[in-house]
Protein backbone atom coordinates (compact mmCIF):
# COMPACT_ATOMS: atom_id res chain seq x y z
CA UNK A 1 0.00 0.00 0.00
CA UNK A 2 1.27 3.46 -0.87
CA UNK A 3 0.15 5.78 1.88
CA UNK A 4 2.92 8.33 2.22
CA UNK A 5 2.21 11.99 2.73
CA UNK A 6 -1.52 11.61 2.73
CA UNK A 7 -4.00 13.05 5.14
CA UNK A 8 -5.15 10.69 7.85
CA UNK A 9 -8.89 10.94 7.22
CA UNK A 10 -9.02 10.07 3.55
CA UNK A 11 -9.19 7.08 1.26
CA UNK A 12 -7.21 7.01 -1.98
CA UNK A 13 -7.71 4.51 -4.76
CA UNK A 14 -5.68 4.21 -7.93
CA UNK A 15 -7.06 2.39 -10.95
CA UNK A 16 -6.03 1.90 -14.52
CA UNK A 17 -8.77 1.72 -17.16
CA UNK A 18 -8.56 0.49 -20.74
CA UNK A 19 -10.21 3.66 -22.04
CA UNK A 20 -9.29 7.20 -23.02
CA UNK A 21 -9.10 9.99 -20.44
CA UNK A 22 -11.90 11.65 -22.37
CA UNK A 23 -14.21 8.68 -21.80
CA UNK A 24 -13.30 8.38 -18.10
CA UNK A 25 -14.00 12.11 -17.76
CA UNK A 26 -17.47 11.48 -19.20
CA UNK A 27 -18.01 8.69 -16.63
CA UNK A 28 -17.84 11.40 -13.95
CA UNK A 29 -19.47 14.33 -15.74
CA UNK A 30 -22.15 12.92 -18.06
CA UNK A 31 -25.35 12.23 -16.06
CA UNK A 32 -26.27 9.07 -18.00
CA UNK A 33 -22.79 7.57 -17.74
CA UNK A 34 -22.42 8.53 -14.06
CA UNK A 35 -25.76 6.94 -13.16
CA UNK A 36 -24.73 3.72 -14.91
CA UNK A 37 -21.82 2.84 -12.65
CA UNK A 38 -22.08 4.85 -9.43
CA UNK A 39 -24.32 2.35 -7.64
CA UNK A 40 -24.18 0.76 -5.14
CA UNK A 41 -25.50 -2.60 -6.38
CA UNK A 42 -29.28 -2.71 -6.14
CA UNK A 43 -29.61 1.07 -6.00
CA UNK A 44 -30.88 3.33 -8.75
CA UNK A 45 -29.06 6.59 -9.34
CA UNK A 46 -30.61 9.58 -11.01
CA UNK A 47 -28.90 12.88 -11.56
CA UNK A 48 -31.02 15.96 -10.88
CA UNK A 49 -28.22 18.49 -11.35
CA UNK A 50 -24.73 18.13 -12.71
CA UNK A 51 -23.51 21.62 -13.53
CA UNK A 52 -19.86 20.80 -14.17
CA UNK A 53 -18.11 24.16 -13.81
CA UNK A 54 -16.34 25.75 -10.84
CA UNK A 55 -19.05 26.76 -8.36
CA UNK A 56 -21.66 24.65 -10.19
CA UNK A 57 -24.06 22.47 -8.23
CA UNK A 58 -24.57 18.73 -8.22
CA UNK A 59 -27.60 16.92 -6.84
CA UNK A 60 -27.86 13.16 -7.09
CA UNK A 61 -30.64 10.87 -5.96
CA UNK A 62 -30.00 7.34 -4.81
CA UNK A 63 -32.98 5.03 -4.49
CA UNK A 64 -32.50 1.83 -2.55
CA UNK A 65 -35.10 -0.91 -2.44
CA UNK A 66 -35.80 -2.17 1.06
CA UNK A 67 -38.37 -4.70 2.38
CA UNK A 68 -40.42 -1.65 3.46
CA UNK A 69 -40.36 -0.13 -0.01
CA UNK A 70 -37.98 2.21 -1.79
CA UNK A 71 -35.89 4.63 0.25
CA UNK A 72 -34.49 7.75 -1.36
CA UNK A 73 -31.30 9.51 -0.38
CA UNK A 74 -30.01 12.73 -1.87
CA UNK A 75 -26.46 13.98 -2.16
CA UNK A 76 -25.50 17.51 -3.04
CA UNK A 77 -22.25 19.38 -3.54
CA UNK A 78 -20.33 21.92 -5.51
CA UNK A 79 -17.65 21.59 -8.16
CA UNK A 80 -14.40 23.14 -6.98
CA UNK A 81 -11.94 22.32 -9.75
CA UNK A 82 -12.82 21.43 -13.30
CA UNK A 83 -9.96 20.74 -15.72
CA UNK A 84 -11.42 18.70 -18.56
CA UNK A 85 -9.96 15.20 -18.95
CA UNK A 86 -7.48 15.90 -16.11
CA UNK A 87 -8.87 16.91 -12.77
CA UNK A 88 -12.30 17.08 -11.13
CA UNK A 89 -12.86 18.12 -7.52
CA UNK A 90 -16.28 18.31 -5.90
CA UNK A 91 -17.77 18.36 -2.43
CA UNK A 92 -20.46 15.98 -1.24
CA UNK A 93 -23.01 16.17 1.57
CA UNK A 94 -26.19 14.29 2.31
CA UNK A 95 -29.17 16.50 1.61
CA UNK A 96 -32.91 16.66 0.98
CA UNK A 97 -34.39 16.73 -2.54
CA UNK A 98 -33.87 20.51 -2.68
CA UNK A 99 -30.18 20.26 -1.91
CA UNK A 100 -30.44 21.46 1.70
CA UNK A 101 -27.56 19.83 3.57
CA UNK A 102 -28.49 17.38 6.35
CA UNK A 103 -26.35 16.21 9.25
CA UNK A 104 -25.10 12.64 8.71
CA UNK A 105 -26.02 11.70 12.30
CA UNK A 106 -29.69 12.60 11.59
CA UNK A 107 -29.67 10.11 8.72
CA UNK A 108 -28.33 7.20 10.71
CA UNK A 109 -24.75 7.52 9.57
CA UNK A 110 -22.06 6.64 12.14
CA UNK A 111 -21.20 9.49 14.49
CA UNK A 112 -17.99 11.16 13.46
CA UNK A 113 -18.88 11.10 9.79
CA UNK A 114 -18.09 14.58 8.44
CA UNK A 115 -21.04 16.55 7.06
CA UNK A 116 -19.06 17.50 3.96
CA UNK A 117 -16.53 15.39 2.15
CA UNK A 118 -14.45 16.10 -0.93
CA UNK A 119 -13.93 13.83 -3.90
CA UNK A 120 -10.86 14.49 -6.04
CA UNK A 121 -10.37 12.66 -9.34
CA UNK A 122 -7.14 12.92 -11.30
CA UNK A 123 -6.70 11.40 -14.73
CA UNK A 124 -3.47 10.73 -16.59
CA UNK A 125 -3.34 9.43 -20.15
CA UNK A 126 -0.81 6.61 -20.38
CA UNK A 127 -0.68 5.53 -24.00
CA UNK A 128 -4.40 5.11 -24.62
CA UNK A 129 -5.07 3.78 -21.13
CA UNK A 130 -6.04 6.05 -18.28
CA UNK A 131 -4.54 6.10 -14.82
CA UNK A 132 -7.14 7.40 -12.36
CA UNK A 133 -6.45 8.51 -8.78
CA UNK A 134 -9.50 9.14 -6.63
CA UNK A 135 -9.23 10.64 -3.15
CA UNK A 136 -12.26 10.92 -0.87
CA UNK A 137 -11.48 13.09 2.14
CA UNK A 138 -13.45 14.38 5.08
CA UNK A 139 -13.74 18.05 5.86
CA UNK A 140 -14.45 18.19 9.62
CA UNK A 141 -17.24 20.68 10.23
CA UNK A 142 -15.69 22.24 13.32
CA UNK A 143 -12.21 22.49 11.91
CA UNK A 144 -11.05 26.09 11.48
CA UNK A 145 -9.00 24.99 8.49
CA UNK A 146 -8.55 21.63 6.87
CA UNK A 147 -4.82 22.24 6.55
CA UNK A 148 -4.21 22.79 10.25
CA UNK A 149 -6.35 19.79 11.01
CA UNK A 150 -4.49 17.57 8.59
CA UNK A 151 -1.10 18.66 9.91
CA UNK A 152 -2.03 17.89 13.51
CA UNK A 153 -3.51 14.54 12.53
CA UNK A 154 -0.55 13.63 10.34
CA UNK A 155 1.76 13.98 13.31
CA UNK A 156 -0.55 11.85 15.40
CA UNK A 157 -0.88 9.33 12.57
CA UNK A 158 2.90 8.99 12.48
CA UNK A 159 2.81 8.35 16.21
CA UNK A 160 0.10 5.73 15.84
CA UNK A 161 2.10 4.00 13.11
CA UNK A 162 5.27 4.11 15.21
CA UNK A 163 3.38 2.46 18.07
CA UNK A 164 2.34 -0.34 15.72
CA UNK A 165 -1.33 0.16 16.50
Amino acid sequence: MTDTGRSHDAVTIERSFNASADLIWQMWTDPAHFAAWYGPEGATISVAKMDVRVGGTRLVRMEVRTPDGPVQMWFTGEYREVVENERLVYTESMSDENGNVLAPSDLGMPAGHPTTTEVRVELVDVGGRTQMTMTHAGIPADSPGAVGWAMALDKLAAYVTAQGL
Binding site: H8, I13, A19, Y38, P110, A111, H136, P140, A152, K155
Partner: protein, 119 residues
Protein backbone atom coordinates in the same frame (compact mmCIF):
# COMPACT_ATOMS: atom_id res chain seq x y z
CA UNK B 1 -17.67 -4.93 4.60
CA UNK B 2 -17.75 -2.37 7.36
CA UNK B 3 -15.31 -1.78 10.15
CA UNK B 4 -16.81 -2.13 13.60
CA UNK B 5 -16.55 1.17 15.38
CA UNK B 6 -17.90 2.26 18.73
CA UNK B 7 -20.01 5.22 17.56
CA UNK B 8 -20.24 7.00 20.90
CA UNK B 9 -16.54 6.79 21.45
CA UNK B 10 -15.75 7.94 17.92
CA UNK B 11 -18.11 10.87 18.40
CA UNK B 12 -16.30 11.75 21.64
CA UNK B 13 -12.96 11.51 19.88
CA UNK B 14 -14.06 13.90 17.15
CA UNK B 15 -15.53 16.36 19.67
CA UNK B 16 -12.24 16.32 21.57
CA UNK B 17 -10.28 16.88 18.36
CA UNK B 18 -12.48 19.72 17.13
CA UNK B 19 -10.44 22.32 19.01
CA UNK B 20 -7.06 23.69 17.97
CA UNK B 21 -5.68 23.93 21.55
CA UNK B 22 -6.53 20.30 22.24
CA UNK B 23 -5.00 19.19 18.94
CA UNK B 24 -1.84 21.13 19.82
CA UNK B 25 -1.74 19.46 23.25
CA UNK B 26 -2.00 16.02 21.59
CA UNK B 27 0.71 16.95 19.09
CA UNK B 28 2.97 17.97 22.00
CA UNK B 29 2.23 14.69 23.81
CA UNK B 30 3.19 12.72 20.70
CA UNK B 31 6.76 13.81 21.58
CA UNK B 32 6.45 12.36 25.09
CA UNK B 33 4.62 12.69 28.42
CA UNK B 34 4.39 16.14 29.99
CA UNK B 35 3.01 17.80 33.09
CA UNK B 36 0.11 20.25 32.96
CA UNK B 37 2.59 23.09 33.61
CA UNK B 38 4.72 22.03 30.65
CA UNK B 39 1.66 21.73 28.42
CA UNK B 40 0.45 25.19 29.44
CA UNK B 41 3.75 26.89 28.52
CA UNK B 42 3.21 27.47 24.76
CA UNK B 43 -0.33 28.79 25.29
CA UNK B 44 -1.59 32.14 26.55
CA UNK B 45 -4.03 30.25 28.76
CA UNK B 46 -4.43 29.86 32.51
CA UNK B 47 -3.65 26.53 34.17
CA UNK B 48 -7.35 25.92 34.94
CA UNK B 49 -8.19 26.49 31.25
CA UNK B 50 -5.51 24.00 30.18
CA UNK B 51 -6.70 21.54 32.84
CA UNK B 52 -10.20 21.78 31.40
CA UNK B 53 -8.93 20.87 27.91
CA UNK B 54 -6.95 17.97 29.38
CA UNK B 55 -10.06 16.71 31.16
CA UNK B 56 -11.94 16.68 27.82
CA UNK B 57 -9.09 14.70 26.26
CA UNK B 58 -9.05 12.34 29.25
CA UNK B 59 -12.79 11.71 28.96
CA UNK B 60 -12.34 10.97 25.24
CA UNK B 61 -9.68 8.42 26.23
CA UNK B 62 -7.00 10.32 24.31
CA UNK B 63 -4.91 11.24 27.35
CA UNK B 64 -3.96 9.21 30.39
CA UNK B 65 -2.83 10.86 33.65
CA UNK B 66 -0.07 9.30 35.74
CA UNK B 67 -0.59 8.49 39.41
CA UNK B 68 2.67 9.95 40.65
CA UNK B 69 2.47 12.65 43.31
CA UNK B 70 1.11 16.07 42.45
CA UNK B 71 2.61 16.27 38.94
CA UNK B 72 0.49 13.53 37.40
CA UNK B 73 2.11 13.72 33.96
CA UNK B 74 -0.13 13.42 30.90
CA UNK B 75 0.53 10.81 28.23
CA UNK B 76 -1.03 10.23 24.82
CA UNK B 77 -3.44 7.31 24.40
CA UNK B 78 -3.42 6.66 20.68
CA UNK B 79 -5.92 3.80 20.32
CA UNK B 80 -9.00 6.04 19.77
CA UNK B 81 -7.12 7.92 17.04
CA UNK B 82 -6.90 4.68 15.09
CA UNK B 83 -10.71 4.60 15.00
CA UNK B 84 -10.86 8.14 13.65
CA UNK B 85 -9.22 6.92 10.48
CA UNK B 86 -11.77 4.20 9.91
CA UNK B 87 -14.77 6.26 8.68
CA UNK B 88 -12.80 7.06 5.52
CA UNK B 89 -11.57 3.48 5.23
CA UNK B 90 -15.19 2.30 5.29
CA UNK B 91 -15.57 3.96 1.91
CA UNK B 92 -12.74 1.96 0.35
CA UNK B 93 -14.80 -1.16 -0.48
CA UNK B 94 -17.65 1.09 -1.68
CA UNK B 95 -15.38 2.89 -4.16
CA UNK B 96 -13.63 -0.34 -5.21
CA UNK B 97 -17.03 -1.83 -6.09
CA UNK B 98 -17.98 1.34 -7.99
CA UNK B 99 -14.84 1.22 -10.08
CA UNK B 100 -15.40 -2.49 -10.79
CA UNK B 101 -18.79 -1.48 -12.17
CA UNK B 102 -17.21 1.37 -14.15
CA UNK B 103 -14.85 -1.20 -15.68
CA UNK B 104 -17.78 -3.48 -16.61
CA UNK B 105 -19.75 -0.55 -18.00
CA UNK B 106 -16.78 0.58 -20.14
CA UNK B 107 -16.51 -2.95 -21.52
CA UNK B 108 -20.25 -2.94 -22.27
CA UNK B 109 -19.93 0.44 -24.06
CA UNK B 110 -16.96 -0.84 -26.04
CA UNK B 111 -18.83 -4.00 -27.12
CA UNK B 112 -21.93 -1.98 -28.03
CA UNK B 113 -19.80 0.34 -30.19
CA UNK B 114 -18.11 -2.60 -31.95
CA UNK B 115 -21.48 -4.28 -32.54
CA UNK B 116 -22.75 -1.13 -34.24
CA UNK B 117 -19.65 -0.97 -36.42
CA UNK B 118 -19.89 -4.59 -37.61
CA UNK B 119 -23.59 -4.36 -38.31
Amino acid sequence: MTVAVDDDRLSGTFAALANSTRRAILARLADGAATVNELAEPFALTLPAISKHIKVLERAGLVKRGQHAQYRPCALEAAPLKEVSTWAEQYRPVWEARFDRMDDYLLHLDTATKDRRTR
